[in-house]
């Protein structure tokens, strides 16, 4: 059973660049990812927008496997700031989970 945390998305918005809502779920990002990370960023952003904190944290390793190379952004038709959005997830984990 997934647990919804309505405050989760607000905590993720550490930067004005954060715009996960712009994602149209088209899948181009997954198709061009050099890491072939199928999960990132579409499903991950959806989990975040729905407040599914546990589902996001289940994928902590995947979040840190992102190269931040912006190949996905260069191909994104919806101008989603994918790298910064992923970095925002890392910021959340660094602060709330790793207590850095």
């Amino acid at each position: 059973m997934a647990k919804v945390n309505p405050a989760f998305i607000e905590k993720l918005k550490t930067s004005e660049e954060f715009n996960a809502t712009a994602c149209m779920n088209c899948g181009v990002c997954s198709a061009v990812c050099p890491m072939e990370i199928e999960l990132l960023p579409r499903k991950l952003f959806r989990y975040a927008l729905l407040g599914l904190e546990d589902k996001v944290l289940e994928h902590t390793d995947t979040i840190y496997q992102c190269l931040l190379c912006k190949m996905c952004e260069a191909n994104c038709t919806a101008d989603v700031h994918i790298a910064e959005n992923v970095r925002s997830l890392r910021t959340y984990i660094s602060k709330e989970v790793y207590k850095l």
Binding site: P34, M35, Y64, Q65, L67, Y98
Partner: protein, 329 residues
């Protein structure tokens, strides 16, 4: 099994907070590249290495050690390592860089400085006062640690009266030029890569004949974050080389895998191998990189199959006379 990300990132961030660098590096070693170049200390325009090239020998030693720990029971003890690293500098004991690595990365910085001198660019260097810019902390999302360090770097630059920075790697260029202004209100220091400075000046003329082709590997950060794309090609062509392009190039360049090397060494190596195949398919034996992380990762993945070197090594062959005194190791 991957290493636990939390403790590994924690060790690097603890080092940045306590020791001003993600990996321990003595300032004496960090400035050794500048010996006998007679670069003035300080000034309004300074060459800012950000210690990236100097840090690479330590990163390579760490990756080598952590790669061995990835599938070993020792990986479970990384958390304990972080605990002790707060009190004693464990990372300096665990990660012993190779002397040869120190030497080759020092040569790159030296070549870059010589190219700037040859082009008539006036610049100083902050020597022991220079600090790492904090790129890894930003990428890891350790925003509080990064912000505190950025403030420290900015205060140091202000105290030294610096108005313009000439950077030498994409990661330092990116954080100083595009990230610092978003978190420091009065950050008004101009930041340019040495590639941009040299390309804009057009004062370098070949003093040695060079020939052959060079395949360009664009750094993701230069190409997609900082729009440094034409400059390296322009400089290689002015030097006398023919520029070759791999399948993924310019704004659609393929990552080398290096950014995740400290956390996931095996996966990083797989990405590097994919890129090396593209570089081989470009049908040139020589490859120019412009980032120390790209260079090390691709060299590791390519083995002896390609001659991969920093772009400065190819440029210095054409634009500078050979150094009379061999640099001591």
């Amino acid at each position: 099994m991957p290493l636990p990300t939390g403790p590994v990132i924690g060790i690097m961030m603890d080092n940045l907070r306590k020791r001003k660098s993600v990996f321990p590096i003595s300032r004496r070693k960090a400035i050794k590249w500048s010996k006998d170049l007679e670069i003035p200390e300080g000034g309004e325009t300074v060459l800012y290495t950000g210690s990236m090239y100097q840090l690479l020998p330590y990163m390579l030693a760490a990756v080598n050690r952590m790669g061995k720990m990835e599938d070993s029971f020792l990986g479970k003890f990384v958390g304990m390592g972080r605990f002790f690293n707060k009190m004693i500098n464990v990372s300096s004991i665990m990660f012993r860089p190779k002397r040869a690595d120190h030497k080759r990365f020092r040569k790159i910085i030296r070549d870059i400085a010589r190219l700037l001198q040859q082009a008539g660019v006036e610049f100083g260097y902050l020597y022991k006062k220079e600090l790492y810019a904090g790129a890894l902390a930003f990428d890891m999302g350790a925003d509080a640690t990064f912000a505190a360090h950025a403030k420290r770097v900015h205060e140091m630059l202000k105290e030294q009266g610096v108005r313009s920075l000439i950077t030498i790697d994409p990661h330092t260029t990116n954080v100083l030029r595009s990230v610092y202004p978003t978190i420091i209100d009065d950050f008004d220091i101009e930041v340019k890569s040495y590639l941009e400075v040299l390309a804009a000046r057009d004062t370098l003329r070949p003093v040695n004949g060079v020939e052959g082709s060079i395949t360009v590997h664009d750094s993701c950060v230069y190409a997609r974050y900082e729009d440094v794309i034409d400059e390296p090609r322009m400089l290689l062509q002015r030097a006398g080389y023919t520029v070759k392009e791999p399948k993924d190039n310019r704004t659609l360049t393929h990552c080398c895998g290096g950014p995740i090397e400290s956390l996931f060494p095996s996966m990083a190596h797989q990405i590097g191998e994919k890129r090396v195949q593209q570089l081989k398919d470009a049908n040139g034996s020589k490859v120019a990189t412009m980032c120390p992380i790209c260079m090390a990762t691709l060299q590791n993945a390519a083995g002896d199959a390609l001659e991969i070197d920093d772009i400065s090594a190819f440029l210095v062959q054409a634009f500078c006379e050979e150094e009379q005194k061999p640099q001591e190791g």
